[in-house]
């Protein structure tokens, strides 16, 4: 009996994989039904639907990049402290001192790539008309995921705390002070006042809520850090689950109905 067979016949192996190797038709079906990760997929799909030239695989690549970002992000969090004193220095150390210091590169380029692959995925879905009934709702979920992907990238942009970071965020968040009714330089902000006192000032408007301060500062860094590492990833994870589940429920992967 070879080592491989001994392992596969052991009680431990059998407790994890409850059936023989997926080498024949029966076990190839069983593996899809009994494995937690694989049961995301159905047992069989239309051959045409998984042709690369048809489906481009961009949704899958986007999900893969999300996993890459999660993994490299956790590794970066081991070193990075979101304070004015340490943020920049920690990024410098990640570049110069930390062994295998390629994780920041992987994380940043992965973020750019994820934005691009999300767009390409949506482009393919549009061009094949795959948003049409019965998949309308999943397209809407996809648009929210697009928005969250951009916000993930945007909040992460601030964390290196260099000139590129704070000024990009300053330019981006300056818009918020012009939010209609809720920004202190937005149209209609005068309406919201009580007894002659303005409710919407530069210390209470939409921009202040976003930055946690009047200017991009330590409060902003902390706020964006929490959004970037906890709040938005959780929201994305939830919506991804819904997105994948609805692919199955709304007629499977794209293809002529």
């Amino acid at each position: 009996m070879s080592i491989g067979e001994t392992i596969r016949n052991s009680q431990i192996w059998k407790s994890v994989f409850r059936h023989p190797m997926p080498l024949d038709r029966r076990n190839r079906i069983v593996v899809m039904l009994t494995n937690f990760f694989l049961h995301l997929h159905p047992v069989s799909v239309k051959k045409q639907g998984i042709a690369l030239s048809y489906t481009w695989c961009m949704g899958g690549v986007t999900f893969f990049l999300f996993l890459v970002e999660t993994l490299t992000g956790v590794l970066l969090m081991f070193y990075y402290r979101p304070t004015l004193e340490w943020a920049y220095k920690d990024i410098q150390d990640l570049r110069d001192v930390v062994s295998l210091g390629v994780f920041r590169e992987l994380h940043r380029w992965g973020a750019h790539a994820m934005v691009i692959t999300t767009w390409l995925h949506m482009y393919r879905v549009f061009l094949t008309g795959s948003y049409k009934p019965p998949r309308e709702f999943n397209w809407v979920v996809g648009v929210i995921l697009l928005l969250l992907t951009l916000l993930l990238s945007f909040t992460g942009y601030l964390l290196p705390w260099d000139q590129l970071a704070i000024w990009a965020i300053t330019v981006g968040s300056n818009m918020a002070r012009a939010t209609p009714f809720l920004g202190h330089e937005g149209p209609g902000q005068q309406i919201l006042h009580v007894g002659g006192i303005d409710m919407i000032t530069n210390a209470s408007d939409a921009r202040f809520a976003l930055l946690g301060a009047r200017f991009v500062g330590e409060e902003t860094l902390n706020r964006f850090y929490v959004l970037h590492c906890v709040a938005i990833p959780l929201a994305v994870a939830l919506l991804l689950a819904i997105h994948f589940w609805r692919v199955r429920k709304d007629g499977g992967i794209s293809g002529p109905l």
Partner: protein, 448 residues
């Protein structure tokens, strides 16, 4: 710019040399694949039949000859006069109008340029142009910025996938014109996910991991000086994927360009499946079966998103001034800007009188009425555009749409469409007649 041109060429010679080698290899691999399938004649030249294999061997050979020159620091370059012409031609007007014309051309002649030899030739041309352009230090500095590299990648990826999708759509449309089903409907064979799909997924993951590692090792993530709230960089730019919106700030105030417009874009994207009542084209590539939605999407995606990102990233320099791709980003470039509001045109220019102004000492209500009166031309125009045009459209060009969509869906669709068109409209008005605002009420931060 800094240092001599020869120094700059020496800096990029190795990369550029390999770039041309890559182009040679690319064409030879293509020739090899074509040869495997059996050479086909392309055209006759002086009695000699040139086959597809031979043609791309020659093209690859030409790049191979160029490569050592590039590697030794004397690559082929655009002449100064060509660069000057390109700089002049790539102003915002020609860029946006030109790309619209180009898109119309590509749309009409989609049966021609999607033919693989033509597409391959176009790819070769674009890569050659890239090779010629990077020998300019000003061009290289902007395009070669680590954070801008993804955009170059995005442009080529979009080109490739647009070709692929259009190629498939053209074939399907031809088939359907003959009464045949689209290719996607001819095969309904089912395969097991294990192994057919999971293996593809694994290969994709391995390939992506390799790609990401190579990218990460080759290009260091940017890290500039430590943040300083007193040293404002010029230009200050948002992350690249928001630069289309930042470009919109030139034409609209932040409340619209930065808040309302993005919200409308998101809402409009979400509304697509509920507005597109066309049942055809579900699950296969086609253009002729869904021309309207196709054209609207392509204009929105390419013209109003991608082109504006390219404009904002590569062609907007200090003070958000426009710079040609081969122009030095001079922070002292001064452009005379004398933009005029519509109300100023109306009261001053047309009627030859002063702007209406509330008499001194009048209450806020009176002031408000005078502001409305002052801006009435713009307000009436905007309301007419958004309120009067949809019913006119419903009764004329979109009569069929209106009948199928019903009132609410039609009103939402036509308003989204009109708001979308208003972007290039306002841009053109700015460039041609220096129009600043259609409605200008700085008193309430309400400029439109």
């Amino acid at each position: 710019m800094h240092g001599s041109h020869a120094d700059f060429l020496a800096r990029i010679q190795l990369g550029l040399g390999f770039f041309y080698l890559l182009l040679a290899a690319m064409n030879w691999v293509a020739a090899l694949l074509l040869w495997r399938d059996g050479p086909k004649p392309y055209f006759k030249l002086g009695g000699i039949t040139v086959t597809n294999v031979f043609a791309w061997l020659i093209v690859g050979g030409l790049f191979l000859i160029v490569a050592p020159f590039a590697m030794m620091g004397s690559p082929p370059e655009f002449s100064e006069s060509v660069k000057h012409v390109i700089n002049e031609l790539s102003g915002p007007v020609t860029l946006t109008v030109g790309s619209l014309v180009a898109m119309a051309f590509l749309f009409v002649f989609r049966g021609w340029w999607t033919k693989p030899p033509i597409a391959w030739l176009l790819l070769n041309f674009s890569l050659l142009a890239m090779g010629l352009a990077v020998t300019d230090a000003n061009f290289f500095e902007i395009v070669g910025k680590p954070d801008n590299v993804p955009i170059v990648g995005l442009v080529y990826l979009l080109g490739f996938f647009t070709w692929l999708a259009t190629y498939k759509a053209v074939i399907n449309d031809d088939r359907m014109a003959q009464g045949l089903p689209p290719i996607e409907k001819t095969e309904d064979e089912k395969v097991l996910v294990w192994p057919d799909l999971v293996y593809t997924e694994m290969i994709c993951m391995v390939a992506m991991t390799a790609l990401m590692l190579v990218w990460a090792l080759a290009l260091q993530a940017p890290l500039e000086e430590p943040a300083s709230s007193v040293k404002t960089p010029n230009p200050s730019k948002a992350p690249w994927y928001f630069l289309g919106l930042q470009e919109m700030l030139v034409y609209y105030d932040p409340w619209y360009a930065g808040v309302v417009l993005p919200s409308i874009v998101v809402f409009g994207l979400m509304a697509i499946p509920f507005l597109d009542f066309n049942k055809a084209g579900n699950g296969y590539y086609t253009i002729s079966q869904r021309k309207f939605s196709y054209i609207v999407f392509q204009i929105g995606f390419f013209e109003l998103w991608i082109v504006l990102i390219i404009l904002g990233t590569f062609l907007r320099g200090p003070n958000w001034n426009f710079f040609g791709p081969f122009e030095y980003w001079d922070a002292h470039k001064v452009l005379a800007q004398n933009n005029v509001d519509l109300s100023q045109y109306f009261w001053g220019g047309m009627l030859g009188q002063g702007m209406p102004k509330a008499p001194a000492g009048s209450g806020p209500g009176m002031e408000f009425l005078y502001i409305l009166w002052r801006e009435s031309p713009g307000i009436i125009l905007t309301l007419a555009y958004l309120v009067l045009l949809p019913p006119i459209l419903a009764a004329t060009v979109f009569r069929g749409f209106f009948a199928k969509m019903g009132l609410i869906r039609f009103m939402i669709m036509s308003n989204l469409l009109l708001l979308m068109i208003s972007l290039p409209l306002k841009m053109v008005l700015r460039w041609t007649v220096n129009l600043k605002y259609i409605i200008s009420i700085p008193e309430y931060f309400l400029n439109f």
